[in-house]
């Protein structure tokens, strides 16, 4: 069993994209109105992300997805 504790102090260019997207797509100040575009319709992005990932990785079976 891996019981390691690892600290990931990484420069910005090496931060895991998945950790970054958690924060960039769900965090920060959301501004509405008067914009060319803001990702207020975040669901749209999530959905396209999901579709993208599904097409990238189709052989994923039996993962613990709950």
């Amino acid at each position: 069993m891996r019981d390691v504790v690892a600290e990931e102090r990484l420069p910005p260019e090496r931060v895991a994209l998945v950790d970054l997207l958690d924060r960039l797509l769900a965090g920060g100040v959301v501004i509405t109105g008067d914009l060319v575009l803001s990702i207020a319709d975040i669901d749209l992005v999530r959905i396209s992300l999901r579709a993208l990932i599904a097409s990238i990785d189709e052989d994923l079976e039996g993962s613990a997805g709950w």
């Binding site: 069993m1 891996r2 019981d3 390691v4 504790v5 690892a6 600290e7 990931e8 102090r9 990484l10 910005p12 260019e13 931060v15 895991a16 994209l17 998945v18 950790d19 970054l20 997207l21 958690d22 924060r23 960039l24 797509l25 769900a26 965090g27 920060g28 100040v29 959301v30 501004i31 509405t32 109105g33 008067d34 914009l35 060319v36 575009l37 803001s38 990702i39 749209l44 992005v45 396209s48 992300l49 999901r50 993208l52 990932i53 599904a54 990238i56 990785d57 994923l60 993962s63 613990a64 997805g65 709950w66």
Partner: protein
């Protein structure tokens, strides 16, 4: 009129220099009443609504843009209290950004005061679904680990028929799985509570998609914690101590306070 203004963050101070932003464009500041907005001038053919809707479907574009946005926010947040703005916030021009700072200046100042002198840490916890999870080192054993019903939990008679035996086994295995799931959730709550006690604020992100994270074990916790700078070491120690007994802990950060500046302003 083919340019727009991309907004990364609003902070208290201006940096003498800033790394390049999205599409490798230079970043500049717009100052107003004790607030500084970090922006880039971006071409509308790339950052107009139609273009963005298309680009956001492109994983490579999204990754590159996310990293560029983060590079700027990270540099600013390392130097001054910062409220990151959500990825891809694009205005027609600088005038709208000035107007935002004028109208919502108090809100920004409040947010900046809340994150000032604090940093965000990420704590992720994983467990191997096949191996089960204990209550955690140092946790007062509440017997949960022992109460797993054996596979021979006696149901109504008829054990002689193979179909019935199968159903009984299946039911027991489902019960076992439910038990493990409950233990994992309890353990996650325990870890989150213990870390929240050391933090000024905490937030639980949803568990990451294994297809994005590349990890196929259970992610039982995807937490974010806003921690006073003086308590960084204590927090890291506590996070480490909460691992073990079937659970792997990973700490990420320090992050700009992305998870603690979530608010909507029009």
């Amino acid at each position: 009129m083919s340019d727009a203004t991309y907004l990364y963050a609003v902070a208290r101070d201006a940096l003498p220099e800033c790394p390049a932003g999205v599409a490798d464009l230079p970043v500049r500041t717009i100052g107003r009443e004790g607030l500084v907005a970090y922006v880039s001038t971006v071409p509308l053919e790339q950052f107009g609504e139609q273009a963005l809707r298309r680009s956001l479907e492109d994983m490579d574009w999204l990754a590159e843009t996310a990293r560029a946005h983060h590079r700027v926010v990270d540099a600013v947040a390392a130097a001054t209290p910062t409220a990151p703005v959500r990825l891809v916030t694009v205005y027609d021009d600088d005038g709208h950004v000035r107007d935002l700072l004028d109208r919502r200046g108090d809100d920004f100042l409040r947010v900046l005061a809340r994150v000032s002198g604090r940093r965000e840490w990420g704590v992720k916890a994983y467990a191997d679904p096949a191996a089960g999870v204990g209550p955690g080192p140092g946790a007062s054993g509440d017997g949960n680990g022992e109460s797993c019903p054996g596979p021979s939990a006696s149901g109504g008679g008829g054990a002689g028929r193979p179909g019935t035996a199968y159903l009984q086994r299946r039911r027991a295995s489902l019960r076992g799985r439910e038990q493990v799931r409950r233990q994992v959730l309890q353990r996650a709550d325990h870890i989150h509570r213990a870390l929240s006690e050391l933090a000024a604020a905490s937030y639980r992100h949803r568990a990451q998609d294994p297809r994005l994270s590349g990890r196929h074990d259970w992610m039982l916790l995807n937490g974010a914690y806003l921690v006073d700078e003086g308590r960084d070491a204590e927090f890291a120690e506590q996070a480490a101590a909460l691992g073990g007994d079937g659970v792997e802990i990973r700490v990420t950060g320090p992050w700009a306070p992305y998870s603690f500046t979530v608010m909507e302003m029009g």
